[in-house]
Amino acid sequence: MLEYVLEMKGVCKYFPGVKALDMAEMHLRPGTVHALMGENGAGKSTLMKCLFGVYKMDEGEIIYNGEQVKIENPFDALQKGIAMVHQELQPIPERSIAENIYCGRYPETKILGLIRTVNHKKMYEQTGALLKSLGLNFDPKAKLGSLSVSQMQLVEIAKAVSANAKIVIMDEPTSSLTRNEVDTLFSIIHRLKESGCSIIYISHKMEEILQISDEVTIMRDGKYIGTWTSKELTTDLIITRMVGRELTNLYPKRENVPGDVILQVEDFTSIHPKSFRDVNFDLRKGEILGVSGLVGAQRTELMEGIFGLRASERGTITYLGKKLRITRPKAAIENGIALLTEDRRGSGIFGVLSVADNVSIASLQQYLNFHIMLNDKKIAQLVKDNVKKLSIKTPSIKTQIMSLSGGNQQKVIISRWLANDPDVLIMDEPTRGIDVGAKYEIYCIIAELAKQGKSIIMISSEMPELIGMADRIMVMCDGRVTGFVDGEQMNQETIMELATRFAS
């Protein structure tokens, strides 16, 4: 048996202006789970896309089953037995689960030996058997769109399994899974391993990595740093090797002092019966209120409801003693409320526009000459001030925002809101998809804002982050608020118990 089922050596990949991969390597043993780690922008996903044939590598070689191979495109990769579960899912929600799983390789029968048709019966049977073998209790004929995002993720993994892959690449597979689903995933991984399949596992969650993987390869700035067995690693060691320096403080010191209540939400209920309902909470001046809960707890929906992006059936929002009626984001913004959305690319950045436009777009009305003409000088000054204040790394303020890293994009959007000088800043997963170094910078910004007397609502799925940052944590489950914790009670066990209050 070969020592390595797959080796990638000397892989280089250039994008306009960046060297995304610089002599990257990967050595994968058969039947193992191999974690690939690194900060965002370290080149993990790029390396895997080269392996899966999405990108063409500019230099380097792939040795698969002892032979040098060229992988032209994803179809070619699948033919060779390499499957990938994408970070961003690309499902077809209007079609059945089975059709999604067998998309592109439907079992066929020939009518009169000539006309090719899809053998639906066989497809549904095979899918049923597959799902059952993986412990997934879905109807193969159900529309994929009827599943939750995390369930779709599991279907995506089942799809990779069904391809009889020798290597399965999983790019952040657990980012939207609940605890139970993660367990299901892990049992699937074990099953795959036993059948001799190798798994390349990309994740930012250290505990998960140490639990599931056999070996860990660490990358930094597109370069190969090294491969270690998981047994010789600790969270600290991984972080040190990922960032290339010691990280002493995970969270900044907070000097904010919560004052009087400025925002009261009472009886707030969505028009959708399964979404948020009967929500009551208040927010103090200069307070950081954490919001915890599992995926599907409707935290995002609640905040979007408060911000006017989603409709509510009843309930009141009282702000500085005044009852607000918010049906559009514009109204919320005019009242000093800001929302940093969860999906940065989908509803945060304007990809093709410049950093300057991205910063100023929500506050243009403040920079008008003669009520109509924009004062370009003032706007440029605003942007430059923010770039400096939040240390946004960008070649120029005219650079397209999509060429910046995730952390810098996030800072740009934070400055967009700060330009409006809001009193309440709702941040939905502010550090998602951001590397460790930049996370700390975002924490510092949050701490500083709270110190200045701004009230922050921070949704996060990373409990240590909430415990480290928040003055108080509101926990939600199934659309309802199940409790508040602060002080001594702020620990993972208490929060977890509240977050699973109504879980079946």
């Binding site: 929302l339 304007f350 100023s360 967009r416």
Partner: protein
């Protein structure tokens, strides 16, 4: 800081423009009259009207929409303008008892109708969320029908001298400077200002860049889109008014297919069908180059029927090259 472009990339990104200017030069060498003053004036006049239409469509394109009713709206505008600008002594007037109306009044009337068409487009697209392609395709037929009803399918001629002079006249009687060019220039400058110096312009680019983000950022996307489609209508009204003067008459077939020429001009000039990108100066170049190609084909004696085929191909290639820029970035 500008990204460094390799020479090859520069060629590909500007392939259409380079190809068409090259073609024009070749034609000029083969047929020396191509570079005559008369032809030059002709080019400017043709470009002027089409530029105004293209500027109208550009707002729709930048917000990831489109406006297929452009050509027919221009046609309707031209027919209305011509009807009310017939000379008093013309024998077969549509309204024989109508005296001479002030030109400005007729222009405002034409604009009112075309802006109304734009408003309807905007309402259907922004409020009912009908895809712009379908909404404006429907409107195209509605406007054509309205124009048939209005004109009774009869051509309208015998236009007033002061009206046709808008097109035939030129500044200080210098052939190089026809009034039409001046009008287009003024509109270009105003629209450049709107696109680059007003919040409305920024909101337009923002909606094209990412409509969800725009909504979250407090931009009134419905209002902005309504404004964009109404502005487009305004442009078609002005263009139709000028086109009537230029042609010395109007009929229901006027303006047919102009929307595609306008979209082609925009795309050649760098307005991306992907949204969020496009400049007025680019549109001018795009329309100019496209007109240059058309005139070059005329000079080479290519039959009009064939020029349609070439125009269609040019449009498709222009969009393909545009999309290529975005695909390559993945």
């Amino acid at each position: 800081m500008r990204e460094k472009q390799s020479f090859g990339n520069f060629l590909l990104n500007n392939a259409m423009i380079i190809f068409m200017i090259g073609a024009a030069i070749v034609v000029g060498l083969l047929r020396p009259t191509f570079f005559s003053m008369y032809n030059f004036k002709n080019l400017i006049s043709n470009t002027a009207v089409r530029f105004i239409i293209a500027v109208g469509v550009s707002g729709c394109l930048i917000t990831k929409g489109t406006d297929l009713s452009a050509g027919r709206t221009v046609g309707l505008a031209a027919c209305i303008a011509a009807t009310f600008m017939q000379a008093a002594d013309y024998t077969s007037k549509v309204y024989p008892n109508l005296g001479e109306l002030p030109m400005l009044m007729v222009l405002l009337g034409v604009i009112f109708v075309s802006v109304l068409v734009g408003l309807l487009n905007g309402l259907v697209i922004a409020l009912l969320n009908v895809p712009p392609f379908i909404a404006t395709l429907g409107m195209q037929t509605i406007v054509y029908g309205a124009c048939l009803v209005f004109t009774g399918a009869q051509p309208i001629g015998g236009l007033r001298k002061d009206y046709t002079n808008l097109s035939s006249g030129s500044i200080f009687n210098i052939q190089m400077l026809p009034y039409l060019g001046l009008f287009a220039l003024i509109i270009g400058v105003i629209m450049w200002f709107v696109y680059n110096k007003t919040p409305h312009g920024k909101y337009m680019y923002a909606i094209g860049g990412n409509e969800n983000s725009a909504e979250v950022s407090g931009i009134n996307t419905v209002k902005t889109k309504l404004m964009i489609y109404m502005t487009a209508g305004l442009m078609y009204g002005i263009a139709g008014f000028l086109l009537g003067a230029k042609s010395g008459g109007a009929s229901v077939n006027m303006g047919m297919g102009y929307e595609l020429e306008a979209i082609a001009g925009c795309t050649i000039g760098g307005v991306s069908t992907n949204g969020g990108v496009g400049r007025i100066s680019g549109i001018l170049i795009g329309v100019l180059v496209f007109e240059l190609l058309k005139i070059a084909m005329q000079f080479m004696g290519v039959e009009t029927s064939y020029t349609y085929i070439v125009q269609g191909i040019v449009i498709i290639i222009a969009v393909a090259l545009d999309i290529r820029k975005y695909v390559a970035k993945r």
